[in-house]
Subunit: 349 residues, 2 copies
């Protein structure tokens, strides 16, 4: 994984900016009728017909958000798209377009950029999203990726963060904490590799964790699953910074409180075993570990029967009155205040 198998190295300066853009975008085909004009003009043109347009953007910086010593470029490209699509799905919308801007220092040959775009293309094909624009330039240090995702939804289908109601159930899709633990495993292997480059890591016990870190999938499927169950969430957000942080966004914007039950947090067996090995508290990891890209939403309590026992969803708590605050009910039945330990990009540096 740490080895660069590319033997060919083509300098980006040889190609020039327009040459590079042509080269990396020629395999991208527009798939959505709403993508009227993609790359090649001053601006792309989109026709959302009668729907509303959703816009979200994220910026990823080498050394802050990703480490190329264990993040293969193809995975990075894929993940960068997922992070943005996840935000569109969290509005209950359909993502249809992305713009991708990258800056790279001259240490990256063309083949590296091709790998990155191969991941972006795979994401576009898998999620039926069109690359419609972007910018490509040089950086003085490292790589950065700025993606804007554009989606659409009928006005009445959009789900905001500020509309959770008292007594609503709090639900999460999938499980929590695995991506964070995957990162811990990869960081540990990086340190081992530094000491002994010939050491062959045995990662069999961590495959799920590493996949969640290196190749997360945005939950495009949730909207359809909820429609099948005849459920419209009262509020929704994606879990990128950890459950605690996202619950707090919903509660503060909706002016409500909440109770989250420790014993209801969905944990994969690998999360539990790896937390033991790393001597980490699995509840803390589930609450504050970032990058799960699951969805957190609230539903009316009347929908409980529709959702209980569904393997895609876990009811982790309920909304309370604002003056009751935000609380975690421990396995022992104790109530403690929920703390925001969300990943804070600005404090990391």
């Amino acid at each position: 994984m740490l080895e660069d198998k590319n033997t060919q190295k083509t300098s980006l300066a040889e190609l020039g900016e327009f040459g590079l853009i042509n080269h990396i975008t020629k395999y991208f085909k527009l798939q959505n009728p709403s993508s009227i004009k993609g790359i090649g003009d001053d601006a792309a043109v989109i026709d959302a017909s009668e729907k509303q347009t959703l816009v979200t953007t994220d910026l990823l910086i080498e050394g802050v958000h990703f480490d190329l010593s264990y993040m293969p470029l193809k995975h990075l490209g894929y993940k960068a798209v997922m992070i943005n699509l996840s935000d569109v799905y969290a509005m209950n919308g359909v993502a249809e377009q992305i713009t991708v801007s990258i800056a790279v220092s001259n240490r990256f040959p063309l083949e590296a950029i091709e790998e990155l775009y191969a991941g972006i293309q795979l994401a576009c094909e898998t999620y039926q999203v069109d690359l419609i624009g972007g910018d490509t330039t040089s950086s003085t240090k490292g790589m950065l990726i700025s993606i804007t995702a554009i989606g659409k939804a009928a006005k009445e289908d959009i789900v905001y963060r500020n509309t959770a109601k008292e007594t609503d159930l709090i639900v999460v899709s999938g499980d929590l904490g695995a991506a964070y633990l995957g990162l811990q495993v990869l960081e540990r292997e990086k340190q081992v590799f530094k000491v002994d480059p010939n050491n062959q890591p045995d990662l069999d016990n961590y495959t799920y964790l590493i996949e969640r870190q290196l190749k997360p999938e945005a939950r495009k499927d949730i909207a359809a699953l909820l429609k099948e169950l005849d459920i419209k969430p009262t509020s929704m957000i994606d879990i990128s910074d950890g459950l605690s942080s996202e619950v707090m966004h919903i509660c503060s914007q909706s002016k409500v409180g909440c109770k989250i039950y420790e014993d209801k947090l969905p944990l994969d067996p690998q999360v539990i075993s790896t937390c033991e090995e790393f001597e980490l508290d699995s509840t803390m990891v589930a609450l504050s570990g970032g990058e799960d890209y699951e969805l957190l939403f609230t539903v009316p309590i009347a929908d409980f029967d529709k959702i209980k026992g569904n393997p895609n969803f876990s009811v982790v708590g309920h909304i309370t009155a604002e003056n009751q605050g935000l609380n975690l009910v421990t396995r022992a039945g104790q109530e403690i205040a929920l703390k925001a330990q969300g990943w804070n990009a600005l404090k990391d540096n």
Copy 2:
């Protein structure tokens, strides 16, 4: 200009990411009815009603696209918005929203970010554009700004690059080359300052050039001017990389050739005098100097009477058959092939 008058320095880490976002966005108010939801959810929501949506994005990196030793942060914020709006206007659209993502190293205090956003806000107010989202993070080196602009236009009003026709006139708004010369003046002053920090530069002869470099204005007014004249361009592009480069985009996409007349290039008197002083060829500067943010468009030859003598526009040439190539007709009446010398970000590093 080179002096930092801020005495207060607030560390960004003290505020945290969400604190910073709240702090810098609290003075931004949504102005457009199409901006349904701005900052504060997973994605922004836009309603373009029956119109088509235009999307464009640009990435600016410190040390590649701007130099903070002579570019005040407020101007940088303003210019970064202009660069993007210009692309929307070049589609004959109305810009209504932007997202702004920034990354800054810890050498920037909060007050620096406030200055940057003061410029962004001034641009938003002046051009009636809403800031609806973005991302704020740390960088390992320097500052970077990634902006996406969103606009709208009726389908029948959008002007593409690939629709210029033989015999069409080639028209530019405003004048050319001043922004490039402004940069040359500022670079020279920077070198002088390095040698003698007490030297007071006399920039009176270059005020227009420096303004064009530090505070360009996107040509929002052109769409209305053309409507008044009852002209719909057959193709349009904004001049960010120099006239030559932009004409080439129009010609290659429209599969036509062109003749550009040297004696028709619109030059400000300061451009002419400064070219003499710097021993630069003013034609080369007009053709290849970037960052003018004027509009280049083609109109049917039948519209010549509508546009001739209009102080906002210069007819600089006409479209020819593709097999005639792209040519510059010199003052001496000689035809020479037009060369692309557009600013190439990837070759600069």
